[in-house]
């Protein structure tokens, strides 16, 4: 459902803040700084960064491949090691049973059970394979808007965060009321602010 697929879902953000004078140079440096880092061979739980919209394994951006005319097209990639709740539960129960037998006690304390859960989470997370997710975005530098190809609130929050870290600029989701502010004559702004729902029947 991304930028280049047959059917895409997206929301629009406005970009707020001042852009540096030598923007492309700044962008190249910052995109490289926040490019995606692979965690397949480490034990890190989470990694987020930019990759090419054409290839999620390309975080080098040869020939500034993110630049397309007056746009920047990038994919936000998030890799995360996740443990299924049922798997975690199984391993916790197994360990609890083992300890009860070993110590010959009928029940473990809450503290002991929490410790087991913590240890099991750590052990299973390290074993888990990172699950990748990719989300395309396209920044129109002419009118300073971003199309983001996901309607998930969680993904949108991750984008706002990564965009702020990368470019020092804020994204503001263009819900109808804010989009309206950009479309109307400034003389009507007060009326818009005071608008109340109409009864349509």
């Amino acid at each position: 459902m991304g930028l280049l697929s047959n059917s895409g879902s997206f929301v629009r953000f406005s970009v707020e803040g001042d852009m540096p004078a030598s923007f492309w140079e700044f962008a190249a440096e910052r995109i490289a700084m926040h490019a995606f880092r692979d965690i397949d061979d480490s034990f890190e739980e989470h990694s987020i960064g930019w990759v090419s919209v054409m290839n999620m394994f390309d975080s080098e951006f040869a020939y500034a491949s993110y630049a397309a005319g007056d746009y920047i097209a990038l994919t936000m990639r998030i890799d995360e090691r996740k443990v299924a709740p049922a798997v975690l539960k199984k391993f916790c129960m197994k360990e609890e049973e083992r300890l009860k037998k070993e110590r010959q006690v009928p029940k473990l304390s809450r503290g002991q059970r929490l410790e087991i859960k913590e240890n099991m989470t750590l052990m299973l997370t390290k074993k888990a394979v990172p699950v990748p997710a990719t989300y395309d975005m396209c920044w129109n530098l002419g009118d300073n808007t971003v199309l983001f190809f996901s309607t998930s609130g969680k993904a949108q929050a991750s984008l706002e965060d990564l965009f702020k870290k990368t470019f020092d600029l804020h994204l503001v989701l263009q819900v109808p009321f804010l989009a309206a502010g950009r479309l109307i004559d400034p003389a009507l702004e007060e009326r818009l602010a005071e608008l109340n729902p109409t009864i349509l029947i």
């Binding site: 459902m1 930028l3 280049l4 047959n6 059917s7 895409g8 879902s9 997206f10 929301v11 629009r12 919209v53 054409m54 020939y63 491949s65 630049a67 397309a68 005319g69 746009y71 097209a73 396209c138 129109n140 199309l147 309607t151 503001v172 989701l173 263009q174 819900v175 109808p176 009321f177 804010l178 989009a179 309206a180 479309l183 109307i184 004559d185 009507l188 009326r191 818009l192 608008l195 729902p197 109409t198 349509l200 029947i201």
Partner: protein, 177 residues
């Protein structure tokens, strides 16, 4: 006002717009005359989601069917339910877009752009890729531009003294459906 409050308090604006757009498209047999652009085909089709109630007690009703059979959705409007999501076909010149618009948030879902060259026929050299990206963005932005211009039309009417007259026509349309 921060974004959370805006989303909660002003969600009606997008919902009123989409309801108005349905009325506007049917008023002239599926075409909306946008100032500076001309006639654009706007057809509500197949899928409409209505909601009623507020906050935690908000409930949703999905109505699906062919264009002429959206009678459940029409009845819902008469009962005071709010139009929250609709599948809309936009047509301008030879181009046609299909999109699902979520009214309260302006989420654009499952947007199908007009067909252009098949991907398999295109090469992977950087210039061709850039061309492909630019073409796709342009197609998305053209659809957004049409929606923006129709939203501007709605706002100019909604914020003017003439809104009362437009509202009478809109209410009559809802009542007569």
């Amino acid at each position: 006002m921060d974004l959370v409050d805006i989303i909660a308090e002003k969600r009606f604006l997008g919902q009123e717009f989409v309801t108005w757009l349905w009325f506007k498209s049917e008023e002239r047999g599926g075409a909306v005359d946008i100032p500076g652009i001309g006639d654009v085909m706007v057809v509500f089709e197949k899928h409409i989601l209505l909601e009623y109630g507020d906050g935690d007690s908000r409930e949703k009703v999905i109505c699906q069917g062919l264009q002429a059979e959206m009678s459940e959705a029409r009845t819902g409007l008469r009962m005071g339910k709010k139009l929250e999501q609709a599948r809309i076909m936009l047509g301008r010149g030879e181009y046609e877009w299909n999109l699902t618009l979520r009214a309260s948030m302006f989420d654009f879902k499952s947007v199908k752009t007009p067909k252009t060259m098949a991907t398999s026929e295109e090469s992977d050299d950087p210039a061709a890729v850039e061309g492909r990206i630019l073409e796709k963005i342009s197609l998305y932005e053209q659809a957004l531009h049409l929606v923006d211009e129709m939203f501007r039309m709605f706002l100019n009417s909604r914020l003017s003294d003439d809104w009362e007259n437009e509202l009478l026509r809109l209410r009559k349309w809802i009542k007569d459906k």
